[in-house]
C-alpha cells in the first residue's frame, strides 16, 4: 500500500483508541494505519461515529484522558513517535508543526479575547516572537486567509465576525507557525454552501502556496471529490478502503464505499422517488471487532464475514480494501 516515492511526513501504524465509560469500554479506533505524504491532501470520509475525528485527535493527544486511552500503535512524525512523546514535546508539535481546524467556528474561538490575541498566542509561544513582530505576522496571516482590513480587525472579538470569517481566523491560527501538516476536522460542515465553497477554494489555494500536507475529515463526498488526492474510508473505527480519489469514485471496492456513493443524489437525469439510504446504524464497538463491522448492514455479506474481520488487502496500485466479498469493477460501473 505504500508507494514510497515521496517520504511520508506522517506515518500511522496500528493505532488503537479506547474510551473507558461506566458501561464498559468503547473501541473507537481499531488498528488504523495510514500515511501522509508531503504536500498531499488526504480525505477521510465516513458516517458520524466512524472514528474519523477520534483518530486524528488521538494522533496528537488532544483527547481527554481519561476517558480516552490510546492503547497501541506508532505515529511517526518527523522521526518522532508522537504516542511516546512527553506532554512537553507534544505541545511543541501542536500548533507549531501540526495545525488544527475544527468543525464549528462559532464555538472554537474564545469569546472573551480578541482575535489578535488568539492569533498571536501560538506565534509568541512557538516562534518566540515579541509583541510587535507577532502583530505584524498576525496581520499577514489574516490577509493570507482573505480577511479584509486585517490590521483593524485584530482588535475585534469573535462575535464580531461571521461564521465563514471565523473559520478563516481558525485557519489563520492553524497556519500561524507554518505547519507541515494541517488537520481539518469537518471545517466546512457548520457553514452554508456558498461559504463552504469559499473555504474550499481558500484551502486549495493555501496548500499550493504553502505546500503543507492536509488531512481533511468530512462526510461530504462532494467535497472529497473536489479537493482530495487520496481518500480513506472509515467505518466502525477502521479503515475499510483506501484509494486515490479518481480510483475510489470510479471503482469502489468495499460495499460500504459503494453504498455511500449510491446515497449521493444525482442532479442530472430522472429524479429518484426516494433518496438512497444505508439502512441501520453504525456500530458502537464494546470489544475489538472479531467480525466485519459492516456485516449487519451489508447486502453482500457471506458466511466468512461473521467469523473473521477482514484485513486490508491491496487490489491495485495504491488501492486497498478490507472486504471478503468486494464489489467488482463491472458491478460498480453498472450501479
Amino acid at each position: 500500500m505504500l508507494d514510497g516515492a515521496t517520504p511520508s511526513v506522517l506515518d500511522v501504524k496500528g493505532l488503537k483508541t479506547v474510551f473507558k465509560t461506566r458501561r464498559g469500554e468503547v473501541h473507537a479506533v481499531n488498528d488504523v494505519s495510514f500515511h501522509l505524504k508531503a504536500g498531499e491532501l488526504l480525505g477521510v470520509v465516513g458516517e458520524s461515529g466512524s472514528g474519523k475525528s477520534v483518530t486524528m485527535m488521538s494522533l496528537i493527544g488532544l483527547l481527554p484522558s481519561p476517558p480516552a486511552e490510546v492503547r497501541n500503535g506508532t505515529v511517526m512524525f518527523e522521526d518522532q513517535d508522537l504516542l511516546t512523546a512527553t506532554d512537553e514535546q507534544l505541545r511543541a508539535v501542536r500548533g507549531a508543526r501540526i495545525g488544527f481546524v475544527f468543525q464549528d467556528p462559532m464555538t472554537s474561538l474564545n469569546p472573551v479575547f480578541n482575535v489578535g490575541f488568539q492569533l498571536m498566542e501560538p506565534l509568541r509561544k512557538h516562534m518566540g516572537m515579541n509583541k510587535s513582530a507577532a502583530r505584524k505576522r498576525a496581520v499577514e496571516l489574516l490577509e493570507l486567509v482573505g480577511i479584509p482590513d486585517a490590521a483593524r480587525r485584530l482588535k475585534d472579538y469573535p462575535h464580531q465576525f461571521s461564521g465563514g470569517m471565523r473559520q478563516r481566523v481558525m485557519i489563520a491560527i492553524a497556519l500561524a507557525c507554518d505547519p507541515k501538516v494541517l488537520i481539518a476536522d469537518e471545517p466546512t460542515t457548520a457553514l452554508d454552501v456558498t461559504i463552504q465553497a469559499q473555504i474550499l477554494e481558500l484551502m486549495k489555494d493555501l496548500r499550493d502556496k504553502l505546500g503543507m500536507a492536509v488531512v481533511w475529515i468530512t462526510h461530504d463526498l462532494g467535497v472529497i471529490a473536489g479537493i482530495a488526492d487520496r481518500v480513506l474510508v472509515m467505518y466502525g473505527g477502521q479503515v475499510v478502503e483506501h484509494a486515490p480519489v479518481r480510483e475510489l469514485f470510479k471503482n469502489p471496492q468495499h460495499p460500504y464505499t459503494h453504498a455511500l456513493l449510491q446515497t449521493v443524489p444525482n442532479v442530472r437525469g430522472k429524479r429518484e422517488a426516494r433518496l438512497e439510504v444505508i439502512e441501520g446504524q453504525p456500530p458502537i464497538l464494546g470489544a475489538p471487532p472479531s467480525s466485519c463491522p459492516f456485516r449487519p448492514r451489508c447486502a453482500r455479506a457471506i458466511a466468512r464475514c461473521e467469523v473473521e474481520n477482514p484485513l486490508r488487502e491491496p487490489v491495485s496500485q495504491g488501492h486497498d480494501v478490507a472486504c471478503f466479498h468486494p464489489v467488482s469493477a463491472t458491478e460498480a460501473q453498472n450501479a
Binding site: 488532544l62 505541545r91 508539535v93 501542536r94 472554537s108 474561538l109 474564545n110 498566542e121 462575535h159
Partner: protein
C-alpha cells in the same frame, strides 16, 4: 456603557424612594412601641406625651415626609458642611435622631461602620481568596479526592448556619483551647506589632465563620462555571495551539468562568451585611448588625428605617455594579 450607567442611576431614584416608603409603612404597621420597655409605673397619659414628643402623634404621611426631608436633604448638607467647613443657611437643621440614644442616626452609623467593614469585609475577601482556587482545582480535577472533600466541606459550610458555627468555634477555640477571645473588642487600637497580633487573634474567629459560609457558596459557583467552560470547543482550540495547561486553564477558561462568578460576588456584598447581623451578635462585634438588632428591640423606628434603607441602597447599588462588571468582562454584552 456610561449612558447605560447614568440611565440606571436615574431609574434607581424612584426605586429607592418607593423602597423607603414600603419600609416606612411596614414599620408603621408593626405593633412596636418605643415606650414599651419603659417601667410599667409610668401612667398612660405620660406615655402619650412621650410618644408625642417623639413625633408619633403626627399622621403617617407627615412623618414619612419629615424623614425623607431629614435624610435626603438635611443629612447630606450636614455631611458637606463637615467635610468642607462651609455653612449653608440656618445653623440647626433637624436630623434623623435615634429614639433610644437621642443621638443622630447617621453619627451612630458612622461609629459602627468601621467595625462591620473590618470584620465583614475581611471575611468576604478571605472567602473569595479561598473559594476561587478551590473552585478552579475542584473543576479541573473533577471527582478527585480534592473535589470530593471540597464538595463535602462547602455543603457543610453552606448548610450549617453561622450562629451554630460561631458558637461551635467559641466552644472549641475559646473555651476548650483558649486560643482566641470569644468577644471582639471594638475599642482595641493597633499601635505596634503586639497589639496587631491581638487584633488578628480577635478577628480570626468571626472572619473564619463568615468566610467559611461565603467561600462555600462562591466555590460552588466557581466550580460549576469552570466545568461549563472546560468542555467548550475553544478549550480544545487552545490545547491544539500547543499552549501549556496552565495557560489553557488560568487564562482561557478562568477568564470566561469569572464572568458569572464576579456577578455573584458583587450581588453578595449587600447580603453579607445582612448575614453579618447574626455573626456580629455571636461575637459581640459592635457593628451595624448589632445596632440594627438593638434598634428593633427598642422600637427605635428612625434607626431601623435608616439602616434598612441603607441596606436596600446597597442592594440596588451592587446590582448596578454587577451589571456594569458583566458588560466589562464579557465583550459580547453591550448595553448601548
Amino acid at each position: 456603557m456610561l449612558t447605560y450607567t447614568i440611565r440606571r442611576l436615574l431609574i434607581a431614584i424612584p426605586t429607592l424612594l418607593f423602597i423607603s416608603l414600603i419600609i416606612f409603612l411596614i414599620l408603621d404597621l408593626a405593633p412596636s412601641d418605643p415606650t414599651a420597655s419603659l417601667p410599667l409605673t409610668i401612667p398612660p397619659e405620660v406615655r402619650a406625651e412621650i410618644r408625642a414628643s417623639l413625633g408619633l402623634d403626627e399622621p403617617v404621611h407627615i412623618r414619612f415626609g419629615l424623614w425623607l426631608y431629614q435624610f435626603f436633604v438635611n443629612e447630606p448638607i450636614n455631611l458637606i458642611e463637615q467635610w468642607t467647613g462651609a455653612s449653608f443657611g440656618e445653623e440647626s437643621r433637624p436630623r434623623v435622631v435615634s429614639w433610644q440614644t437621642r443621638s443622630p442616626v447617621v453619627d451612630l452609623i458612622a461609629q459602627r461602620m468601621p467595625q462591620t467593614l473590618w470584620v465583614v469585609g475581611t471575611s468576604y475577601v478571605v472567602g473569595i481568596l479561598i473559594a476561587v482556587p478551590i473552585g478552579v482545582i475542584s473543576a479541573y480535577r473533577q471527582y478527585s479526592w480534592f473535589d470530593q472533600l471540597g464538595t463535602f466541606i462547602s455543603m457543610l459550610g453552606f448548610s450549617v448556619p453561622t450562629f451554630f458555627t460561631g458558637v461551635l468555634f467559641i466552644v472549641i477555640f475559646s473555651v476548650q483551647l483558649g486560643w482566641f477571645p470569644s468577644v471582639y473588642d471594638t475599642t482595641h487600637v493597633v499601635t505596634d506589632f503586639a497589639s496587631f497580633w491581638v487584633q488578628i487573634k480577635q478577628i480570626i474567629m468571626p472572619v473564619m465563620v463568615l468566610g467559611l459560609f461565603n467561600a462555600s457558596q462562591i466555590s460552588r459557583f466557581m466550580r460549576a462555571s469552570m466545568l461549563d467552560n472546560l468542555n467548550q470547543d475553544y478549550v480544545r482550540t487552545a490545547r491544539a495551539k500547543g499552549l501549556s495547561e496552565q495557560v489553557v486553564v488560568l487564562v482561557h477558561v478562568l477568564r470566561n468562568s469569572m464572568i458569572p462568578v464576579v456577578t455573584v460576588i458583587a450581588l453578595g456584598v449587600p447580603q453579607v451585611f445582612g448575614g453579618a447581623i447574626i455573626t456580629e451578635q455571636v461575637f459581640k462585634v459592635n457593628g451595624l448588625g448589632h445596632l440594627l438588632i438593638g434598634a428593633i428591640q427598642g422600637g427605635d423606628i428612625p434607626t431601623v428605617q435608616t439602616l434598612t434603607f441603607i441596606f436596600a441602597f446597597l442592594i440596588v447599588l451592587f446590582n448596578l455594579i454587577a451589571d456594569v462588571l458583566y458588560g466589562i468582562l464579557d465583550p459580547r454584552i453591550r448595553y448601548d
